[in-house]
């Protein structure tokens, strides 16, 4: 509280009372100001009379309640407690795979022989992955035969990850279940060279930082062949997976006004595996996979003035798979161009409107190289959206948006409303709700057989969170309904399948109860059925185990400069279809259980040694069974279990950072 234009003033006490003396003057004005509140001035006409001034909280994006329903914000913000960027590299079992780490979070299912992200009863294609706001086609490496894949991007690239498990903003589309938005680092910290020597390969990266610009270039070669010479595998590899990958990132800092970023990644990988056939002797089918992938992305953010902000960009993805199955040879070619432009207008600090337009151009081609026959499709989807976010107070935020999606192939326009709100009933609690309508283009293979309308999903979710800063508890319930899933009919597919996924997630993370220990526990329950593909009835899909549990712990030993970690993942089993039994997807595999351990040792300031072992107990998890196409002489369909490539996976890596600043290391590049 102070008298404008003078030194005279005082601070109020806890109850807001204040008193001070100041000489009377013509336009005596008292100013009241407080961090987080809008200042107010009052002209004094009756000096000596008591004054009462009411201040209203200044709500803006930074102090507003965040919408937590279906949202996990992995960043360095003080309020983001569920997961931090460093967790992605320190979580055991993931070996620095973004998907592996996120699979320990609520709302996800671990499908051990797949490796992609499965959210709330949805399959992997229902999660769209964005890189600096632009869609990535084929964000996972190509694989086959039950060999799990990994996310193509190194977590060290990203300063934050925004993971939505449902009810996501109108800004995003094309995904029935969820969105994973990866945000790259804005300004690398210093010139440095990072060298990694690992049991699975080598990598070298160099960063150059100038005043306004920076470039990072990286080359990595991963080859599991030497490793497989030493450790026995259950799968029959003729050539273990090997990948050569290069990437470069360019950033140009426009100062306070914004930033321009460019990213390019190219990779080539090969793998040859023999897959035994049920009911037959011998090695089975020889499957060879040769993949070439390229992804380029250019994005920019610009602050036009205090109230206007714009961002946009374009991405190109190209993925070519050359596959040989015995004497058959195929080639599939998947390309995606995504261009988008958003404009944000701040009516005030508490009310913002975001509008945008985007275009997706998809190109998919399949060629049978032996028969020299091919088919391809191209389609264009465009979308417009408008979304308003209103921070009514520091206890209430509301977001409402509308997305219009136009698919050229089916000439259909759909309007998808999305709403979300968050309310703070007390200081440390947040209650949040999110609902919306979502759509997704059918898989390219399905579209090759003819135009099939986009699949649809509706979400409704309600969540409660209690966050004390050191401990966080979350419970979230959701209802999802699916429609227009593709079902096989005589000459193609119809968008006639329906389904649902209902459930709830529990999450508890604690970084303080036990000294130097950080742990979290996740339990997710999903009750999901859907009619899709060749199924005649609604079935529980193979990627939606009913009960899912993950327990992750990390312990810091200061004297040894080490951080051991452990992850226990469990689920109640995957459904599969046994043709020898009546019904569809009537069988359930045994429970999935994996205990993984890791140990990071900071040998020197700039040298980290990382050791990990997945599935230390060597449990033989079975994910389902592959059945023969024809019954044998006794009328039974023979089968083979779908298991793990090896009993355990071992990893050891030495990560060395060379820079002028001797304290630099690859703590964020494990």
């Amino acid at each position: 509280m102070y008298s404008k234009g003078t030194y005279n003033g005082s601070t109020t006490n806890k109850d807001g009372f204040f008193s001070f003396s100041t000489p009377v003057s013509e336009n005596l004005t008292i100013v009241a100001s407080c961090i987080g509140y809008a200042s107010k001035e009052q002209i004094i006409t009756n000096p000596g009379q008591p004054i009462e001034i009411i201040l209203y909280e200044k709500v803006n994006e930074l102090n507003a309640v965040s919408i937590t329903a279906g949202t996990i914000d992995v960043s360095d913000k003080a309020t983001s407690m569920v997961m931090k960027p460093l967790d992605i590299v320190t979580t055991a079992g993931a070996i620095a795979d973004i998907t592996g780490a996120l699979s320990t979070l609520p709302g996800t299912a671990t499908v051990g022989n797949d490796g992609r992200l499965f959210v709330r009863g949805g399959d992997a294609s229902e999660t769209a992955i964005f890189f600096d706001g632009l869609r990535v086609g084929n964000a996972y490496g190509s694989t086959t035969s039950g060999l799990p894949t990994r996310n193509r991007f190194n977590p060290a690239l990203f300063k934050g990850t925004f993971f939505s498990t449902g009810g996501y903003s109108a800004e995003y589309g094309g995904a029935l279940s969820s969105v994973l938005a990866l945000e790259t680092v804005d300004k690398p910290v210093r010139n440095q060279t990072d060298l990694s020597l690992m049991s699975v390969g080598v990598a070298a990266a160099s960063t150059f930082v100038a005043d306004k610009q920076s470039v990072t270039a990286e080359v990595a070669y991963t080859d599991l062949n030497p490793y497989q010479e030493l450790v026995e595998q259950s799968f029959d590899f003729e050539l273990a997976p090997r990948t050569l990958q290069g990437q470069a990132i360019y950033r140009h800092d426009l100062g306070k006004a914004g930033m321009v970023k460019g990213f390019l990644q190219a990779s080539g990988s090969q793998l040859v595996i023999w897959q035994p056939q049920p009911g037959q002797e011998g090695r089975g089918q020889r499957i060879a996979l040769d993949n070439t992938f390229a992804f380029g992305n250019a994005s920019y953010k610009k602050i036009l003035n205090k109230r206007w902000f714009t961002e946009g960009g374009v991405s190109l993805s190209a993925n070519i798979d050359n596959t040989e199955i015995d004497t058959e040879r195929y080639r599939s070619d998947n390309r995606l161009i995504h261009a988008k432009q958003n404009v944000v207008h701040y009516f005030s600090e508490a009310l913002k409107l975001k509008t945008g337009a985007e275009v997706f151009v998809r190109n998919y081609g399949e060629t049978d190289k032996v028969l020299d026959a091919s088919r391809s499709l191209e389609n264009v989807t465009s979308a417009l959206f408008a979304e308003a976010e209103w921070y009514a107070s520091t206890a209430l935020s509301v977001r409402a948006g509308l997305r219009g999606n136009y698919a050229s192939q089916t000439d259909k326009f759909t309007l998808q409303p999305r709403v979300a709100a968050a309310y703070k009933p007390y200081d440390k609690g947040i209650v949040s709700i999110a609902a919306g309508s979502f759509s997704q283009q059918q898989d390219a293979r399905i579209l090759l057989s003819g135009n099939v309308a986009d699949a649809r999903a509706e979400h409704l979710q309600l969540s409660f969170q209690h966050n004390t800063g050191n401990r966080i508890f979350r419970i979230e319930g959701y209802l999802k309904s699916y429609s227009r899933l593709a079902v096989k009919v005589a000459h193609g597919y119809h968008a006639a399948g329906e389904g649902y996924a209902n459930g709830f997630d529990l999450f508890y993370r604690d970084g303080t109860t036990f000294k130097n220990t950080d742990f979290w526990v996740t339990y997710s329950y999903v009750n999901s059925q859907r009619r899709y593909d060749t199924f005649q009835t609604q079935v529980q899909p193979s990627f939606a185990p009913k009960h899912n549990l993950a327990v992750v712990g990390k312990y810091w030993i200061a004297n040894w400069k080490s951080m051991p970690g452990a992850t226990f993942s469990w689920n109640s089993g995957y459904t599969y279809d046994n043709p020898n039994l009546s019904g569809e997807m009537e069988s359930l595999s045994a429970n999935y259980a994996v205990l993984s351990l890791n140990w990071s040792y900071l040998w020197k300031q700039n040298l980290i040694i990382h050791v990990a072992c997945n599935n230390v107990l060597g449990r033989e998890n079975i994910f389902g069974y592959t059945y023969a196409n024809q019954p044998d002489d006794t009328g039974q369909f023979q089968s083979l279990p779908q298991g793990q490539p090896a009993a355990r996976f071992f990893f050891i890596g030495v990560l060395w950072t060379i820079s002028k600043n001797k304290e630099a290391n690859q703590l964020n590049n494990l």
Binding site: G9, S33, N63, A78, L86, Q605, E663
Partner: protein
Amino acid sequence: MKNQILVLVIFFTSLGLYAQNGAYQKAMGEAMGAFAEAKTAEDLNAAANTFTRIAAVSNGEYLPDYYAALSLINESFYLTDGANRDRLADKALEHIEAAEAISPNNAELEVLRGFALTAKMVVDPATRGQQYSPAISRHYGKAMQMDPKNPRAVAMMARNDLGMAQFFGSDPAAACAMAQRSIALFDTETPAGFEPRWGKNVAMEVTATCKQ
């Protein structure tokens, strides 16, 4: 730090030295006294408010903004809630910017900026260490370069480096030597008026840890 500022206030009032702007001197004198006496977060908040008021009516003086920032940074260390600590550190950075507009290329403000970023970093060192550490070192280094005789720059750099050495298990000798050097600089500095003179306790803390 407390003692040194108290000494200043007593010296100041006892000699009755009032420079050109008497009201400013009086207000700052009182404010510095309150700042020296501050024992709780509320006290530091009140001190920050007082300095902010003085800054609002004193053009051409960077010290009110300087001490407002210093009060807010110190206040943040008393709080437990991360978001609130961030808010205070961000407000401190605003004051530092205002001060830099009045007095650019000022080594004291470089040191203070490093200190404000330290306050932000310790909210979540595991996550923010990598991001803020280099900037903090850079600001202290720049301050030392601008004014090699500034004891605060040397003492804060020494404490920063000691922390690093302790975390990585490396030799703290360089940090300890720096702390010793800063004590000598503290003993010989002759700040005028309300110019900063805090920080000897930082150097003493580092030296004490070094002796262990």
